[in-house]
Subunit: 221 residues, 2 copies
DNA sequence: TCAATAGTGTCTGTTAGACATTATGGA
DNA sequence: TCCATAATGTCTAACAGACACTATTGA
């Protein structure tokens, strides 16, 4: 069927892209390279591992390694290109609230305040990365990795609300948290402005005996 | 840092691999190319889309398009290879129970009856593909795509049990199913051996108003 | 003192899981 | 008739969500 030389047709450039998320000014944000238009950090695959390349991109853009990272999706960059398509492996990463952006990088809020702040391809990558984080949120305690080692339960709940994109019920949230034995209180308290000071907690997961989740049929329309 | 010529180092072969699952003899099975050792169908990426290549592989191996397919993961094939690593994009596909294998292909049970039936890399790909299907099972009605258009509820439950790898409670399963309005009964009944005949159903999803799932903290040990 | 936030106790509706019962076929 | 399987009704324990209340700080 194909008349193009096979040896060229099987060649494909492979790019690693990372959507590194954090919380900036109380909003979810993603790291981009500065420019007229922000662009997600990316690099051609060298001879290392995929995740290693993504981690290096985060380190270059923030000065630190991600506290959590996962592969999100692989997107064909331009199918139909003569000589073979090109693909981008998108990683979703996370760094703690307050992590700065290195020279040549900046944080932009998610979702972007105005359309066009990112190229369509990058906007799609960010969307998928956030979806990846959200989907894993109840199996993998990603939210903790967006916080410093010590945090209040209200702060933790705010991170969950940012990632899920909806408000949560305070009492229910804390009950579920207590049942999962993921955090433990420490002796310190933090007072922020007016009200009662909040007790600080630290991430201290304990193994749980296998709690099987029920089967649910939730067809998303 | 690198002294290797950049233009070669950025080159990478990209391979599409598909783990096509079905139900064979009451067990979960995956399609492989025949040989001393089975190998997952794979192809270098041409100039088409990633999913298109995966669909073509299923069509070549079964004579039909998959009833469901999703991207599962991308695996670096051999990091450290001089001249750039190579990566494999793994797709998880599904065809209905009873779909045959084309010339040069066969079905092998999952998990494999004996270790070594698949190369380590392929075994890992199958594991991830099944995990992808399992993870989506409650958001996306994948199980129906492993069945013919008409099926009994017991058959449907058996598919769910195969995919989840555990037994389900019959009454609870049917209650959840009824609540989701995913199936509708048809006028036919099917008698299998002894007991009471089962009513046949057909996949007929109706949109549900947004039922938000609660936040759960399930740390897998 | 009031305002604001942290943290907790109680109630209620929902539902998963267990169990029992009825229904309907084949042997 | 007995047995096997389908299908459904009822009960209970667990729990999400709602609400109210107490606790503790700053203004």
């Amino acid at each position: 069927m194909r008349t193009r030389p096979a040896v060229r047709a099987t060649r494909a450039d492979l790019v690693i892209t990372v959507a590194c998320c954090s919380v900036v000014d109380g909003r979810l944000a993603v790291l981009v390279r500065s420019g007229a238009r922000g662009a997600l950090p990316n690099t051609p695959l060298g001879d290392g591992s995929l995740g290693g390349a993504a981690t290096a991109l985060v380190r270059a853009g923030t000065g630190r390694a991600p506290t959590w990272i996962a592969q999100s999706a692989t997107i064909a960059e331009n199918p139909g290109r003569p000589g073979g398509a090109m693909a981008s492996v998108v990683y979703a990463g996370v760094v703690p609230r307050g992590t700065g952006a290195s020279e040549g990088h900046r944080w932009i809020p998610v979702p972007a305040p105005l359309p066009g702040a990112l190229a369509a391809r990058d906007a799609q990558a960010v969307e998928r990365a956030v979806a990846t984080i959200r989907d894993r949120l109840d199996l993998d305690p990603v939210a903790f990795h967006l916080l410093p080692p010590e945090f209040t339960l209200t702060e933790l709940q705010e991170v969950y609300e940012l990632l899920l994109g909806r408000r949560l019920h305070k009492a229910s949230f804390r009950r579920a948290l207590a049942g999962a034995t993921l955090v433990e209180p420490i002796r310190d308290w933090r007072s922020e402005g007016r009200g009662r000071p909040a007790q600080l907690h630290r991430f201290a997961p304990r193994r749980r005996r296998g709690v099987r989740r029920p089967v649910r049929f939730e067809l998303i329309g």
